[in-house]
């Protein structure tokens, strides 16, 4: 009985998402926009324009680097 209920629950959740995505109309356009945006943000911007400054400049000792910055500005 319990297992039945579980399977029932999971298949209903699956159903919700599966049918939901299949029957989308406006949602398709929105997902396209979201995916393009995520690509631009995480691939183009993060990789090419926003490197982590400390990991590229601090040579492993970030505390030392930052203290040097704080004491020499």
């Amino acid at each position: 009985m319990n297992t039945m209920n579980h399977r029932n629950f999971f298949s209903r959740v699956w159903d919700l998402y599966y049918d939901g995505f299949r029957n989308m109309t406006l949602g398709r356009t929105l997902w396209l926009v979201i995916l393009v945006k995520l690509f631009v943000i995480f691939v183009v911007l993060k990789l090419f324009f926003f490197p982590d400054f400390l990991s590229t400049h601090a040579e492993g000792d970030e505390a030392e680097f930052v203290s040097h910055e704080l004491l020499n500005r």
Partner: protein, 515 residues
Amino acid sequence: MENELFSIDGSMVDWSRAQFALTAIYHWLFVPLTLGLAVVMGIMETIYYRTKDDFWKRTAQFWQRLFGINFAMGIATGIILEFEFGTNWSNYSFLVGDVFGAPLAIEGIVAFFMESTFVAVMFFGWKKVSRGFHLASTWLTGLGATISAWWILVANSWMQYPVGQEFNLDTMRNEMVSFVDVALSPVAIDKFCHTVISAWVLGAVFVVGVSSWYLLKRRHVEFARQSMKIGAIVGLVASVLAAVTGHHSAYTVGQTQPMKLAAMEALYNGGDDQSLTIFAAVNPFAQPDWKNEHEPPMRIAVPYALSFLATNDLHGYVPGINDIINGYDKSDGEYEVPLSEKMVRGSYALTAMKAYREAKRDGRNNELEVLASEFQENMPWMGYGYVKEAEQIVPYIPICFWSFRIMVGGGCLFILLFCAILYFLYRKKSPRWLFHTALWCIPVAYIVSECGWLVAEFGRQPWTIQDMLPTWVGVSALQSSSVMITFFLFLVLFTTMLAVEISIMCKQIKRGPEL
């Protein structure tokens, strides 16, 4: 490395600030509508739940569709701010890492689980789950977004009023010592209440404005009148609450960031019984001569209102810019030391930090304790160690002054608008001028809301962390040209995204509800 450090120029700091501001302003175009529409559509669906009238289901579904567009467009725009912390504001990020870690991690988890589950049920679940479960999901979608906002605002508030942390000289980071102090600081509570309520105002203006458009076009009249009624009731309540919470924010700003309040008011020389400026000829494009002018020209003011706003007492003392620079007696009887003393204390803190780091490097461990306590004693003023002249700690007055007036003026305008809408709905009249006004109030609400942030963020300059870290120290030693490139890249990207959103939104509005 030395050369690179000394090449930090003003334009690089300005470009980094401009880039961050652009991203934050863009991000804030989406957040308030998400929070505001969540309330309106929640109420509509609650009416459907109670009446079982299909009309309300369709009405709620229409506003949920617009909510969905806005939600999809806004997703992940805030992440760019985090990239900018790591690249452009690396010293600052490193310093705060531990304090922000917990709130932002909670935000991420809550947002992911609540939003991905309940948004899915809200959009996909109409025929799959019970009405009650669907209603709960709709409200929880809004609640999830509001909780997310809470944590982000906690992080922002900590920068304006750093509490609940201790600076560790070994790790060079602030470490959280009291989660409760960070999460429930008075600034965080005020900011949360005012920001979320202001978002409800914006959502309500949006609903009333879009409904007005249908009424002007004489389409979906009943739907538009009913939506307008709910929008106007939510809007009226929220606008009054925005004024109440705004008053409380002003009080807290007066206590914690008096320079911000003085800049908002262009109050050069303070005193007791201060009046609130309604209008004054403050040049929008140049910093006024606050040192020598007594007050801005052509000033019209409401007597005692600033004292009341900032101290809850009609006769309360409000310090002006010159008072803050020269020192003054606070309302609790304590003396606020002058800038010159803060600068000395700040340089003691930096000297102690330097000595501590050197002693540690040389293995002189017996000196560490004394140096650490010397540092901690002067730590509250550390940022003043970088200040060379008074001008550096005065925010740019024109933006603070005018943004504050636009925000408060907008708040008053919206109260009138919602009263007028409710009055004419009650009298069953449809004045076209009012609907035109309501439609135009949509962009006005966005401007008003952004002005709130301009007040909050320009007003705290030059501090990235209040009294601890000025912008020119928090910023990374990058080339200003590279920051400039990303600024313009963002401008193009954001404008395109906004155009896409507006066009999808307008198309859906033109299509109208499926009644």
